[in-house]
């Protein structure tokens, strides 16, 4: 129907991901463009940026252009016992760009799995995240972390909330010297400090990291979190995804919303993460819901420059004509060229800054070649 070369990376990804999510029984979820602003005020910390584009609706209610999709999906699903609702979406969201400090439209696709979440559901979502990355690029890495493990380690050292937050920032930066400094400033014992540092220092393939994690596992909470993490990891390894998954506890997310596994995906030659997600039962609880939930989003805007190949020509041929040419003759000539598989731009004069393969001119019914750049 169409040449796949014509599609941009992000458009190809949308098609590939849509068919992937359908295969696993995820249903499309089409949302309204606007959402009541109130929803975001109540869950402001869940948003990546605090700024939201707002306007007044016809009934006087304050509405917002969606800065986030997950909250709307959660709001529109119900707690149904023993069922899991599986949806995927492809939506534009509006967020403030860190660099321009202006609103930006970001195309985002992703899925959410809401309900009675068990180990299989968690495994399914993580493996779909890995498959999503595979659909985008051959060279990808999915980083996997578990908030339960990170928070159990922080709880076990018994530091204040403020200090815990600072340590978490350093964990996110893989900043060992920063952690050591905070620990010495806050009278945290060398042993506990070592525990956090080794958490930051343990990253890499699943089989390499899990044994060293067991070594620092010394509280019941930590053991419970690690047991869950291990069962998920072993499922991923046995399904052949182990090679592409790294355990890395530096994925810094808000512990108030996320509780279990969190993950982040990278593809080679894109400088930022292209996928992020996790289990967010805490957000569900905060929204007064009984269900658990896990999901992820793929940031399609980051793919724009991936494997960008400079096009040699903008157009195959430019066809010049003048007043003496009959419109019907011109149309006939154009149709003939298009039928031959070339794309044609019809102009009276040669436009500037267009790279063309061939320059043609129509005289009466005859088409002459003026220039050939091949």
């Amino acid at each position: 129907m169409f040449n796949s070369n014509i599609l941009k990376n992000e458009e190809k990804a949308v098609f590939a991901l849509r068919s992937l999510y359908r295969k696993y029984g995820y249903a499309p979820f089409k949302m309204s463009k606007f959402e009541e602003y109130d929803l975001y005020v109540r869950n402001k910390d869940f948003l990546v940026s605090d700024s939201v584009i707002t306007f007044t609706g016809m009934n006087g209610k304050l509405l917002a252009l969606k800065p986030d999709v997950t909250l709307s999906i959660v709001k529109n699903t119900k707690d149904l016992p023993d069922t899991v609702q599986k949806v995927y979406y492809n939506e534009n969201v509006y967020r403030v760009s860190k660099n321009t400090h202006e609103f930006k439209e970001i195309m985002q696709t992703g899925l959410e799995c809401i309900g009675n979440i068990d180990v299989y559901n968690i495994f399914e979502v993580i493996s779909l995240a890995a498959k999503s990355l595979e659909a985008i690029s051959d060279s990808y890495v999915l980083d996997l972390s578990h908030i339960g493990i990170v928070s159990a380690v922080l709880d076990s050292i018994g530091c204040s909330r403020e200090t815990g937050k600072k340590i978490l920032t350093c964990i996110g930066e893989k900043n060992q010297s920063g952690i050591e400094k905070i620990c010495s400033e806050n009278d945290i014992s060398a042993e506990d400090c070592e525990k956090i540092v080794s958490l930051v220092g343990t990253y890499g393939k699943i089989e390499k990291v899990l044994p060293s994690l067991r070594a620092i596992c010394d509280t019941p909470e930590l053991s419970a979190a690690l047991a869950e993490f291990e069962s998920i990891c072993s499922l991923l390894v046995s399904s052949g995804l182990g090679e592409r998954i790294n355990i890395d506890f530096s994925i810094a997310t808000d512990m108030r919303y996320y509780n279990g596994v969190v993950f982040q995906g990278f593809v080679e030659n894109v400088p930022t993460g292209v996928l992020s997600g996790g289990q967010y039962d805490n957000l569900m609880k905060k929204m007064g819901r009984k269900s658990g939930a896990i999901g992820f989003a793929v940031y399609l805007d980051t793919l724009e420059r991936l494997n960008l190949v400079e096009k040699k020509y903008d157009v195959d041929c430019i066809l010049l004509y003048d007043e003496t040419v009959q419109a019907a003759d011109l149309a006939g000539a154009v149709n003939k060229l298009v039928a031959e598989g070339r794309n044609v731009m019809v102009q009276k004069t040669l436009p500037e800054n267009i790279k063309y393969r061939q320059l043609l001119k129509i005289n009466g019914k005859e088409v002459d070649e003026l220039e050939n750049n091949d």
Partner: protein, 209 residues
Amino acid sequence: MINVALPKGRLGEKVYDMFEKSGYECPSIKEVNRKLIFENEEAGVRYFWVKPSDVAIYVERGAADIGVAGKDILLEYAPDVYELLDLNLGKCRMAVAAKKDFRDNTENTLRVATKFTNIAKDYYSKKGRDIDIIKLNGSIEIAPILGLSDVIVDIVETGKTLLENDLEPKETIVPISARLIANKSSFKFKMEQIENIKNSLKAQVKTDD
């Protein structure tokens, strides 16, 4: 190939020496000319000199896989990068300085002149002090002398410039030193090389005592 953004100037040269000792030498870098990019294909490394305050941008956006930036820049711009190592070089501190006879009159808004607006805002908001930020791009020391500001927030190395201008450091905000930073995505795909560089630099870091 690992791309390394080095800060132009004395600090960058010291850092390059550390890379050289780690086996990532690139002799052409020592030639006196105006070239900015130097490559040693065999060692798998490419260096480029950039303005110190721009290193973090090159690394965050992936034009460089790793780089060396001052903690002041990392605090000010909060780039989304990994901070792998404290090189314990280029040591100084971010401080509040004022005229020697300055007394903070808490009745008024404090006027703060600085290049580092985010660091200054963050410091004073934690103290709950109402301030007016005056963003300057250089010669910050003049501001209190001319009455443009009450205090300045700036980097203090020896304190000599301050002293010569009849100013003195009043409070230390944070100690500063050079850090090895890495792009998050590059770190995933070039983990082994970046780890090697980090470890051999770490072995050369001099401790204070």
